[in-house]
């Protein structure tokens, strides 16, 4: 794990789970697999707190445990999973676009809680939805269950590995840690539950008295004494499926940008058809015949068979090679080259970064070297039609930025520098890795800056929160306009200005984080796909 990744993980864990969990988590990421006592000793925290922190981390699938010989249980952190926490808003938003509010809330609950049973999810989501509905209406459990089942069918949620039901004839002491198993076919199997009920609206009177909520809430959660029907069957969000969806979205939008709407629809249809048949890590999808594609086009699209064929031929001939033709049976067998598509997307990202950092002439040189693979200094100047001095300058700028590298080809066996060719080349994989590392650093910087800004204005923020609370309570009890204005004036105009600036800055920083994360996704997918092929 690089330092940048560790720093980013540390910031994310601290924001979401607090300092203690962050300390333990970062220690595990740094040092790898360790048993409980060693962790407590090395981090200097009490055993009790280490246990709590590990429970939280295991619950959220950030740490896994393994039983080694002699009964020692070792805990290992999953750094890449910690980095996924950046992407939670994107997952939730995707669920919203696909399955509307119910789906969105289901995925949100699963992501916030790590793992949950289906009944718990349904209940919570129904309660939340009921609160947003108008008075008198409630959300039925059945509807939420239906959405849950649909999410499971399309593999967006999956079951967690479970404790195998062992017979009680097991002699001897129980194992130090349960070995969790999972089988492929059971992963999306929804238990037969008959969840009947409606969402409960939380009464606003619960929150009035300060002392009461504490007493009331624990009782509320242990309200139902009846046994949970699907006890032990936990569900989690299937992040890989979301990633597959993002990848498909990226490919479709790339095709739409390059060609037109109809071709992007064709590609989207092809991707949809291969969702279940092709595992997401394959370099290309299963071949689809033109007839099948024609039959599966969305209903609104009525293009004729010939037009479809023309589109497919056009797509297959495109130099970007998103779609390839693999045979002629069935009207032409077409595949989508997933690996090549990801490569093109990563390359486009690199090109755009070079353009924005160094200018468009640099970008021209970069694209030139990409296209021609290896070029000498002189050839670069000639092909790019840029004066020698500037070309040199730009090349060396890109060289020091590690976008371009030098390849030496010796003419003589003694590698004498005077008798060696030096060729400029772009190694996409290493440039992608370099950019990815930079992205991690950027996000860490963004988060730090945001925390700094918030800390600077902490006093002001608290004051404004209090004022808002006062205004809200006064409005609830029906106060006059004059009184409200008086309270609002507690915050002076320059303070208001300061708050506005703070809000704008924090929004900008947050939005930047989300967008850098999109780049991270593209680069990571490309690197993963390339590594799988080697």
């Amino acid at each position: 794990m690089t330092q940048a990744e560790i720093k980013l993980c540390s910031l994310l864990l601290q924001e979401h789970f607090g300092e203690i969990v962050e300390k333990i988590g970062v220690h595990l990421i740094r040092t790898g697999s360790q048993p409980l006592r060693v962790i407590a000793h090395d981090t200097g925290t009490s055993l009790d707190q280490v246990k709590k922190a590990l429970c939280v981390l295991i619950q959220h699938n950030l740490v896994i445990y393994q039983v080694h010989k002699r009964g020692v249980v070792e805990y290992e952190a999953q750094c890449s999973r910690v980095l996924r926490m950046l992407r939670y808003p994107r997952y939730i938003y995707t669920a919203k676009t696909l399955y509307s509010d119910t789906g969105e809330l289901i995925v949100e609950e699963l992501l916030l809680n790590g793992k949950m049973t289906m009944s718990a999810v349904v209940k919570k989501v129904a309660d939340r939805l009921t609160e947003t509905m108008e008075d008198g209406k409630t959300m039925d459990y059945a509807e939420v269950s239906n959405t849950f089942v649909r999410l499971a069918d399309t593999h967006f949620v999956q079951r967690c590995p479970w404790v195998p039901a062992t017979e009680n004839s097991d002699p001897g002491p129980p194992p130090p840690a349960p070995i969790l198993v999972i089988s492929e076919k059971d992963m999306y199997l929804v238990p037969k539950l008959s969840l009947i009920g409606k969402g409960k609206r939380r009464r606003s009177s619960d929150e009035d008295a300060a002392g009461e909520p504490k007493a009331k809430r624990p009782k509320y959660s242990t309200d139902n004494k009846e046994p949970i029907p699907d006890d032990g069957i936990y569900w989690q969000a299937n992040l890989d499926r979301f990633h597959q969806h993002f990848r498909d979205q990226a490919i479709v939008s790339a095709v739409a940008n390059r060609m037109d709407q109809t071709s992007s629809e064709v590609v989207r249809t092809m991707l949809r058809m291969s969702e279940i048949t092709t595992p997401s890590t394959d370099p290309f999808t299963q071949p689809l015949s033109s007839n099948e594609i024609f039959r599966s086009l969305p209903v609104g699209y009525n293009i004729s068979k010939q037009v479809l064929d023309q589109y497919l031929t056009l797509l297959a001939d495109d130099p970007l090679e998103f779609v390839g033709k693999s045979g002629d049976s069935g009207g032409g067998m077409y595949v989508i080259n997933l690996h090549k598509a990801l490569g093109s997307l990563a390359t486009a990202t690199l090109e755009s970064v070079v353009q924005e950092r160094f200018g468009s002439r640099c970008a021209r040189i970069f694209r030139l070297v990409l296209q021609k693979k290896h070029l000498e200094q002189k050839q670069v100047e000639d092909f790019a039609m840029i004066p020698a001095k500037e070309a040199k300058d730009m090349l060396y700028k890109m060289l020091s930025g590690n976008f371009i590298s030098l390849q030496e080809i010796p003419k003589t066996p003694d590698h004498a520098p005077s008798r060696t060719f030096y060729l400029y080349t772009v190694n996409i994989l290493s440039a992608a890795r370099m950019l990815l590392h930079r992205c991690y650093k950027s996000i860490a910087n963004l988060i730090e800056r945001r925390q700094f800004e918030t800390k600077e204005n902490k006093r002001l923020l608290e004051k404004s929160q209090r004022v808002e609370a006062i205004i809200a309570s006064m409005q609830a009890t029906g106060a006059e306009e004059v009184q409200l204005q008086e309270i609002e004036e507690m915050i002076t105009a320059p303070e208001r200005q300061q708050l506005e600036t703070l809000k704008r800055n924090v929004n900008k920083l947050d939005a930047s984080e989300i967008q850098v994360d999109e780049t991270i996704f593209l680069l990571e997918s490309y690197i993963e796909s390339t590594m799988k092929r080697q």
Binding site: W162, N168, A177, A210, K214, Q377, L395, A416, D510, A511
Partner: protein, 308 residues
């Protein structure tokens, strides 16, 4: 070539013109044998390498660190003009000369090259081009709002473990009203290693974990006997015990039995527990004297009053 021997790995990253190796011209002119063998062996080579901080610094420049550096390092330009024969490796140190044809990399002879940078790049470098504005749209706005909302929600979840703050000198009145009430979260102990379970004697959420363990393990039959014994013991010891204390002890005992480890803490904990229990159970001070003891006879020297 084999003559290189020890320096084979270094040959492409050597600074040029340090009189180190292959291009070395001795006083008798080009002496191939002498040239191909590095003077002094590998350690000497490394010493000489280390003696030229500028060249090293250039090589280890953060931008270039870690790259396979194919071409030789560009040396200091100051002696460029005076060099007529770049191949004439120096007889001394610190003379910059190129061992390769400078034309090949694109610089003309006599050209002013930029200075060697000897320090890390600035912390906030100036950028020539300003960044492109962020994407704006419905989706992006929604995700932004979601992100901020999630951040707030996470702080209120039971998974957010707060650091215990150090005691402030003055206890603020408003602190009482700003506490966030969090739900208690109990993990499913069946899915976790056994060592995860806390071993405290009293747990607020004891009854819940008890229930979970009951439905899960179903091994409570063996423990009820122990529990009953313990309850009897406790009944003998204490009279004014509250019922919840009893409950706590019950699961405390149950937990310890279920874990079944022979750890020393258990015994120690039980002992401590007993002491505390005894202390709490009655209202009498431990140091109470019975009648007849010498009460205060040797304690207060200046006491004039009579004792009663």
């Amino acid at each position: 070539m084999e003559e290189y021997g020890a320096c084979q790995g270094l040959k492409s990253s050597w600074p040029s013109g340090r009189g180190l190796a292959r291009e070395w011209v001795g006083p008798t002119g080009w002496d191939r044998n002498k040239a191909l063998r590095p003077r002094g062996g590998r350690s000497a080579v490394l010493q000489r390498w280390n003696a030229y901080p500028s060249a090293r610094a250039f090589c280890l420049h953060p931008f270039l660190a870690g790259r396979h550096f194919g071409c030789t390092v560009l040396p200091k330009p100051r002696d460029l003009v005076s060099r007529t024969n770049p191949m004439a490796g120096s007889q001394g140190r610190g003379r910059a000369a190129y061992t390769f044809n400078i034309e090949a990399v694109g610089f003309g002879r006599g050209e002013k090259l930029p200075d060697v940078v000897l320090k890390p790049p600035p912390l906030f470098p100036d950028t020539d081009y300003k960044p492109v504005p962020l994407k704006a749209g419905e989706g992006e706005d929604y995700m932004l709002a979601l992100k901020q909302e999630l951040r707030e929600t996470m702080k209120r979840m039971p998974y957010y473990i707060e650091t215990p703050e150090e005691k402030q000198d003055i206890e603020r009145y408003s602190k009482r009203y700003m506490k966030v009430y969090k739900e208690e979260w109990i993990p499913d102990w069946r899915r976790l290693p056994r060592e995860m379970m806390p071993r405290k004697k009293c747990k607020k959420a004891g009854p819940k974990s008890e229930k979970v363990k009951d439905t899960g393990k179903g091994a409570s039959l063996t423990n009820t006997a122990d529990v009953l014994k313990k309850i009897e013991e406790l009944e003998k010891r204490g009279d004014g015990e509250k019922s919840d204390e009893e409950n706590e002890e019950k699961e405390g005992g149950k937990e310890k039995n279920q874990e079944g480890d022979e750890e020393d803490d258990d015994a120690a904990e039980q002992e401590e527990y007993d002491e505390e229990e005894q202390e709490e159970e009655n209202d009498y001070i431990n140091s109470y004297f019975e009648d007849g003891d010498d009460f205060g006879a040797d304690s207060d020297d200046n006491m004039d009053e009579a004792t009663y």
